[in-house]
Amino acid sequence: MQDRSLARLLQTPAVVLLLIWMLVPLGMTLFFSFIRYVLTSLRRPEWTTPSLDNWRGLGNYQFVWNNDGFWLAIYNSVLMVGSILVLTVVLGLAIAVLINRAFPGRGIVRVLLISPFFVMPAVNAVLWINMILDPVLGLQGLAVAGMNEMIDGLRTFPLLGGFFSLWPDLEPISFRATQTSAYAVIMMVTWQWTPFAVLIFMTSLQSEDQQQKEAAILDGANAWSRFRNLTLPHLGRPIAIVIMIQAIFHLSLYAEIEIVSRGNGNKNLPYLIGEFASNNIGAASATGIYAVILANIIAIFLLRMVGKTLMD
């Protein structure tokens, strides 16, 4: 295909669609972020229609900036995305190396391992917060209750009983509480996305130079230094890609947060925007623009990391 204009023509539908998708709603958000715009107001009914007459300048931005919830939401966003990225990459690497060898049932192990990736976020959250993490009826609650019962039984033992009676009863952790709900989200998303990291790393490990590795073994390099000096550099690009794709998905986490605790303790930026949007569209839009700025700061780093070698 030599024809430049034909090449452009073929790219046009995709480019135009994405351009509209990006510019129209974003333009509206930008506009709303500079005006007073609420959905219901008895006192000031004129604020309920978007119009230039309600111009507020940077007022919405100031309002959001001075809102404690905003900084908590940024903290939560960064905490959750950061923890998930570190956990999935480390676990993904470890598991990919672990199954990068021939052993009986490897195919089944692979199938079992990648399954969580196919689970939809809503089901993931419902499953973990109810059936597994619930402090009374979930497996966590049952396990804690079982342990307590066991310790209780041991207390009646002669001699040893005195030792066990010093043990306190275990308390199950409520993962819907303010302090812990972010960890519940981190846990369930890590469970779902580690398989994705494993998938990508596994494929790249298979393309690793085996002769180089054997030479290293003959030179007496131990397993750790082989991993550190040969495998890890080889996985540089896959790691960058795993981080980028996950960052894209996790910056907009929503369903898990909604289902775990309705934003109690784990509210991130998208969730905060959703809360504002139930009435104060101006503030929601200003928060949205902040979120876009944050995403862009992160995107610049990530895209540069991935883009460097894209065209070779």
């Binding site: 430049r4 539908p13 709303f32 089901v123 894209l310």
Partner: protein
């Protein structure tokens, strides 16, 4: 091989066993979900029926009555299938042009496309609701969901396709040109057969992302076009209630995709590289 023989007997047993344990731990939550789906709501929360219980199909038989499962499932199938087809329809020509006739801007265009994925959905939710409800009148229609699912997956699809197409030698495509094959003919008869594995795994991943999408599908629908994500999010039980029936409908929501994933795992394992493997 000599190298392999160096492994101690301990290592030969220990690492595979560890791999099996890790795999079982990762699969356990899904196993537990399926197991719970065969318990009655009452049994599901009783410790004495943890593993030994009277299995029942009641939850599955009542699924239509309790949750209207099939309507949501049908919506999921329709939106995911059409969105995947449409995304590929727009994405393949674009990636083809980028891979075989790159200009100095191609990289920037690709990066820009990916950056649209970074746009937080929540930031534009209100305008989207506003536009589709008040102006376009397409709120809660299949058309809207298909369109949105296509748009959010288009960047990743184009990127994946681009990395596959790039690996195909230009000469093969150009040979077709000499023979006077049309552009459409080139794509259909030369490119697609050569890049079949890559296109298949792209389509599969796109379909999975569509099926599991839980932001737009929940917030841009009410009843007409609501998908399984909306069904589950809307019916998550308050603590301890209905674990059995909730597990059954959840299993039915993720089951088709998991089974599809199992069947296609070879394609996924080989194809899901995002150009990371040379």
């Amino acid at each position: 091989m000599a190298i392999v023989a160096q492994e101690t007997k301990f290592a030969r047993i220990f690492w595979p066993v560890l791999a099996w344990i890790v795999a079982l731990i990762f699969f356990f939550p899904i196993f537990w979900l399926v197991l719970t789906s065969f318990k009655t709501d009452a049994d599901a929360v009783k410790p004495e029926y943890l593993i030994m219980f009277q299995p029942t199909l009641e939850n599955y038989l009542n699924m239509t009555e309790n949750y209207d499962y099939w309507r949501f499932a049908l919506n999921s199938v329709i939106t995911s299938v059409f969105a995947t087809v449409f995304t590929l329809f727009v994405g393949v020509p674009c990636a083809y042009a980028m891979a075989f006739n790159p200009s100095r801007h191609t990289k920037d265009v690709l990066m820009w496309m990916l950056s649209t994925k970074m746009l937080p959905a929540a930031a534009v939710l209100y305008p989207m609701t506003f536009l589709t409800k008040n102006f376009l009148g397409i709120f809660d229609t299949h058309f809207l969901i298909i369109l949105v699912l296509s748009l959010i997956n288009l960047p990743i699809v184009i990127w994946m396709l681009f990395t596959y197409f790039k690996e195909i030698p230009k000469e093969i495509i150009e040979a077709g040109k000499m023979d006077g094959v049309s552009t459409w003919g080139e794509i259909r008869d030369i490119l697609l057969p050569l890049a079949w594995g890559g296109v298949a795994s792209t389509a599969l991943l796109c379909f999975i992302f569509c099926w599991n999408e839980a932001y737009w599908t929940v917030r841009l629908t009410t009843t007409e076009a609501a998908t399984l994500s909306k069904l589950i999010e809307g019916n998550r039980a308050p603590e301890g209630l209905f674990f059995g029936r909730l597990s059954a409908v959840s299993t039915a929501a993720v089951g088709p995709i998991i089974v599809l994933g199992w069947f296609c795992q070879k394609q996924l394992v080989q194809g899901l590289t995002f150009g990371a493997v040379k």
